[in-house]
């Protein structure tokens, strides 16, 4: 496994005077991290890497309509807990269906006029929504570090592409005093082997096999078909530019809604409605 995650000081921590703390949420702590956890090789290795640096690693597996077998993510979690008894892993299933519907459906006709086919970017919507829900989780629990299992070589996915959404997502978290980490980004294609060498996965090659015990998504084909059409007459660089413009608008709305909720967590804000799931 690669070296430990290098932590920088978070941009701005939640303090005792923040509205969330006043509303009963815990004050900020820098020794915990909330990881978007699917149970696959990349996010499992990310969890192992984070466990070297952080006392508590929250493995947040999100569920929504279209996802199947969310409990597959238990498999690597249980092995990690056995393999690293000194680390504290907390695995939980968090519903995020309303957040997904909000990101995909809000202003979709206007977005269609402006961005065309990109409104079918289901994977972009999904990861944006899951990061939004993870951000809310961090704010609710006073966690100052978030992480995902982004790896180099998966550039078609917005949240794993440094020219589409990676910097924008970091900026979103930073706007709320949280630092987003990509602990295995440089690992690229070697995550499977490293995970096997750590004794977490049962064989060196697990992706696209029956041993790949992670959340199964039935919606990726929509993204694949959109890309098939979009790239018929456009370059990949052009796709990156268009996707960044489109998803950045989504992130601006997310930032605005989160701020409104943060100012008064007890009020009837959009985020408060989405959390009723």
């Amino acid at each position: 496994m690669s070296s430990k995650v290098v932590r920088s000081e978070p941009a701005r921590g939640s303090d005792a005077s923040s509205p969330l703390v006043s509303a009963g949420f815990p004050a900020g702590s820098g020794d915990e991290v909330a990881l978007l956890y699917s149970g696959g090789a990349d996010s499992s290795l990310a969890a192992c890497t984070l466990a070297k640096t952080f006392r508590k690693v929250h493995l947040n597996t999100f569920s929504r309509p279209g996802f199947m077998a969310c409990r597959f993510s238990d498999s690597h979690f249980l092995r990690m807990r056995e393999r690293f008894p000194d680390s504290e892993f907390f695995h939980r299933l968090i519903p995020a269906g309303k957040f997904y519907a909000e990101v995909e459906g809000r202003g979709r006709w206007q977005a269609f006029k402006k961005h065309g086919l990109l409104i079918l970017n289901s994977c972009g919507h999904c990861k944006t929504a899951l990061h939004w829900r993870n951000l809310i989780f961090c704010l609710q629990n006073g966690i100052k570090y978030a992480a995902d299992g982004a790896v180099v070589g998966a550039e078609e996915f917005a949240e794993q592409n440094p020219r589409i959404l990676m910097p924008e997502l970091s900026a979103l978290y930073a706007a709320f005093g949280i630092t987003l980490l990509h602990p295995v980004y440089e690992e690229g294609l070697s995550t499977e082997l490293t995970l096997y060498e750590l004794g977490i996965s049962p064989q060196p090659k697990i992706k696209m096999t029956a041993k790949d015990m992670q959340v199964v998504c039935s919606q990726q084909i929509m993204f694949a078909m959109m890309m098939r059409l979009l790239l018929e007459k456009r370059s990949f660089a052009e796709y990156e530019r268009l996707a960044r413009a489109y998803l950045s608008e989504k992130l601006e709305v997310i930032k605005l809604e989160t701020r409104l909720w943060l100012e008064n967590p007890a009020a009837k804000t959009r985020v408060a409605e989405l959390l009723k799931e």
Binding site: P65, E155, S218, I221, M225, L229
Partner: protein, 120 residues
């Protein structure tokens, strides 16, 4: 049975998904609200990744394992009965058979020089 769905390789989509089906699915998905779109895509995924993929694998397996048996069945269940039916209805077989033989006379040897100048 799940097929790999990562369609981009070196910045280009693999041709695993047809252009026309993609146009049809995308056109149908655009007007759908998020919840309905999820179920629609679930159905498309089921057809593409389960029904078609399973059928492809089953046919491929049969083709590899039972080539001889399939030829035997094709001959005795399709070709043979069709030939008998044609014969019963008064058919005379293939047109070539009416010519008497598939073999034709070889050109005489003394025409080699002339034949060399007439290559096609």
């Amino acid at each position: 049975m799940q097929q790999p769905l990562i369609t981009i390789e070196g910045g280009k989509p693999k041709k695993r998904l047809g252009l026309i089906p993609s146009v049809i699915v995308c056109a149908a998905a655009i007007p759908l609200p998020p919840r309905a779109r999820i179920y629609f895509v679930f159905f498309v995924n089921f057809v593409h990744n389960h029904i078609l993929a399973t059928a492809r694998i089953v046919i491929s397996f049969l083709g590899r394992r039972f080539t001889g048996a399939l030829i035997f069945l094709a001959y005795y269940l399709a070709v043979g009965p069709m030939a008998l039916l044609v014969r019963f209805l008064g058919g005379t077989g293939t047109a070539a058979a009416d010519e008497g033989s598939f073999f034709t006379d070889k050109e005489p040897e003394d025409s080699i020089r002339e034949r060399f100048g007439r290559q096609y």
